[in-house]
């Protein structure tokens, strides 16, 4: 296997060959199957994929947030500035979750404790990690709320989650996550539950906070629009694997995997000339109880070849820092990436339009 990204430099967070399984009544689900990535200061890594592909499990397992049992990490390492972390704690006992890695979640309505004031919930983190007194921490919590652009922060800090709107709750979540000035913020579908105008505000806020603090963001989303707007680097995840990784430009303008191409074709654009219909990807992701022996995307891929059935494709470097797992890039394969882009634009032969 080739290296995912050819940088051995100043990665903040470095994850190698992560594997996560869940024991369920139906058997063992291999939710994450050997995922590697790096996160750099001040940059945004977007992990994009369909629901159920293992995006959230990937980051939650690093943070030690997957319920265990049934979940367990069966392989791989995660290093924060070179120090290995397990369940959100470094080997020398430092609790990095909440202090050096902050996290926000999809649904702000249910992600906050309904019987605690917003201020207390933010202050709590500071009390635990920074050893602040309650009043000190509360004062800082008000500042944090102000920083996340909440009006009348001192009054708001004394209120309970049910008195907040969804957008304000997500701002409070962000304030909570950045309270200890973490070097990494993990945002797990931060805008999915919000309406469009609020989405945009939240993304702006994240951007600004990132620039002010030189913070890395790991953004998990299924929305390519959000990816296009936020990401420096992108990992396309499918059935527990990264099918393609690269810079945002690589992914959007130089897609090297049929799945990425499919995702793009399924994404609405605002270009006038595109009169073509949106193209859904037929079928559904494979059963992770028994992952397919070859390429995970085989069953849905319009360009599937015999090699794809039983032989898992390795990572092919298709550019600097641009990797894809697709047999199309094998030297012996006669079909080229250009065909692939063409195929995305026109329906395949033999298929009903």
């Amino acid at each position: 296997m080739t290296a995912v990204i050819d940088q051995v430099t100043s990665a903040l967070l470095e994850v190698r060959d992560l594997e996560v399984e869940f024991d369920t009544y139906g058997g063992t689900v291999r939710a994450v199957r050997g995922v590697s990535f790096e996160v750099h200061a001040g940059k945004t890594l977007a992990i994009v994929g369909e629901s159920g592909c293992g995006k959230s499990v990937t980051v939650q397992s690093i943070m030690g947030l997957i319920p265990s049992p049934p979940g367990r990490i069966v392989g791989g390492t995660a290093k924060l500035r070179g120090k290995e972390i397990v369940d959100g704690v470094t080997a020398d006992g430092e609790i990095v979750r909440g202090s050096r890695i902050g996290m926000i979640f999809q649904d702000p309505m249910t992600s906050l404790n309904p019987t605690m004031t917003i201020g207390d919930q933010i202050a709590e983190t500071l009390q635990v990690h920074r050893g602040f007194s309650h009043s000190q921490a509360l004062r800082l919590a008000v500042e944090l709320l102000e920083m996340t652009r909440i009006n009348e922060p001192s009054r708001r800090a004394r209120q309970y989650p049910f008195e907040f709107s969804g957008g304000m709750l997500q701002r409070s979540m962000i304030a909570m996550a950045i309270a200890c000035r973490p070097s990494i913020l993990i945002a797990d579908e931060p805008t999915t539950a919000l309406d469009v105008t609020i989405q945009s505000q939240i993304l702006d806020l994240l951007r600004d906070l990132q620039q002010e603090n030189n913070m890395a963001i790991v953004l998990i989303t299924h929305d390519l629009g959000v990816v296009a707007r936020m990401a420096d680097e992108v990992a396309v995840m499918y059935a527990g694997e990264f099918l393609e990784t690269g810079t945002a430009d690589d992914i959007f303008y130089n897609s090297a995997h049929p799945y990425t191409v499919g995702l793009r074709a399924a994404m609405p654009t605002n270009r006038d000339e595109s009169e073509q219909d949106l193209m859904p990807i037929d079928g559904s992701p494979p059963d992770l109880f028994a992952p397919p022996p070859g390429c995970a995307y085989f069953a849905r891929c319009p360009h599937a070849m015999e090699a794809c059935r039983n032989d898992p494709p390795p990572g092919f470097a298709v550019g600097s820092g641009h990797m894809t797992r697709c047999w199309l890039h094998h030297a012996d394969c006669s079909r080229r990436i250009e065909d692939l882009h063409y195929a995305a634009a026109a329906p395949l032969e033999g298929r009903d339009a």
Binding site: L65, G98, F105, N113, E124, F162, M176
Partner: protein, 310 residues
């Protein structure tokens, strides 16, 4: 909150009025009105009753007199015991029952919360399996069987140690209260344990507990400030009905353990067909339960900001 309290109190008063009316018409409404025709009473009692209740007057007037007395907190005169006022009976026996009930509900509530949290924490492991087995037993065994078995156990225990560790029956000292209140609280505790467990399990896997963990909080802090407090809320909401269950369970426990409470007195009054005592006690207990439910609801408001601030 104040407005809410006033509203609830007014509702409570109307409900009590309905209970009193239902009791009155239940007693007078059927053919052969027991209050008018019971022969087993002395002439003196009869005269007292006529003077007090206006039995020689038409029904609607009697109702007026009855409600009038109720408003003044006067529950009337006993049928079976000459010249004894129902109020005196209530005053004498209710505190005993109330004390027993308070002990039992405290025991049931604390035990339920503790065991419920414990079972949720050790889900599907030994403590959970053992406690849940006992809980299912506790829910399925009637209170009088607990009372009988409890007493049997005490007899055997005392016989085993050769001395009286806890008295088998009676009332007066703290040692008299322990066994009956445990027995009385057992069923409710089992019920609350079950409720607390499922509430706790729901909350342990809730989004906000995940948030709390993502903040890197210590386990005990998550347990106390995020899990326990929210898990208790549904337990508090059923405390009202639990008080009713414990009150009626008290009848049997008082009977079996020979405790001079209102419950036992009520059962005796029923057996002696002491109608006025039955009516008075019914209305009194009804009012008591209505207001306990209100108290519990207000208490809930104190714990849950969503209710408090509305």
């Amino acid at each position: 909150m104040i407005l809410y309290t006033i509203k609830r109190l007014i509702q409570g008063v109307i409900t009590v009025w309905f209970i009193a009316t239902a009791t009155f018409f239940a007693m007078h409404g059927v053919p052969g009105d027991p209050l008018m025709t019971d022969k087993a009473m002395s002439e003196e009692v009869r005269k007292n009753l006529d003077a007090h209740y206006g039995f020689d007057q038409p029904k609607w007037k009697q109702y007026g007199i009855y409600i009038g007395h109720m408003v003044q907190g006067d529950f009337g005169i006993s049928f079976a015991q000459e010249n004894r006022r129902v109020n005196d009976i209530l005053w004498e026996h209710f505190p005993v029952s109330a004390f027993l009930g308070i002990l039992a509900i405290t025991f049931a509530g604390l035990g339920g919360i503790l065991f419920g949290a414990l079972t949720a924490r050790y889900r599907n492991r030994m403590p959970d399996i053992v406690i849940m087995f006992l809980v299912i037993l506790g829910i399925s065994v009637p209170s009088f069987v607990f009372a009988a078995l409890g007493q049997l156990a005490l007899v055997k225990l005392n016989a085993f140690f050769g001395t009286s560790i806890l008295p088998v029956a009676g009332w007066g000292t703290l040692s008299h209260m322990i066994a009956p209140s445990l027995v009385l609280g057992l069923g409710t505790m089992a019920f609350l344990t079950r409720l607390m467990r499922s509430s706790m399990l729901e909350i342990v896997s809730s989004d906000y507990v995940r948030t709390a963990r993502s903040k890197g909080l210590p386990t005990t802090r998550i347990f106390l400030r995020h899990e326990l407090r929210n898990a208790i809320l549904p337990v508090v909401t059923v405390l009202g009905p639990s008080i009713a269950a414990i009150t009626t369970g008290g009848f049997v426990v008082e009977l079996v353990f020979a405790i001079p409470g209102l419950g036992r007195y009520f059962v005796q009054a029923v057996q002696q067909l002491d109608y006025t005592v039955i009516m008075g006690t019914t209305v009194f207990y009804g009012a008591f339960l209505v207001f306990m439910v209100i108290v519990v609801d207000l208490l809930y408001g104190l714990i849950d900001p969503r209710v408090r601030l509305e």
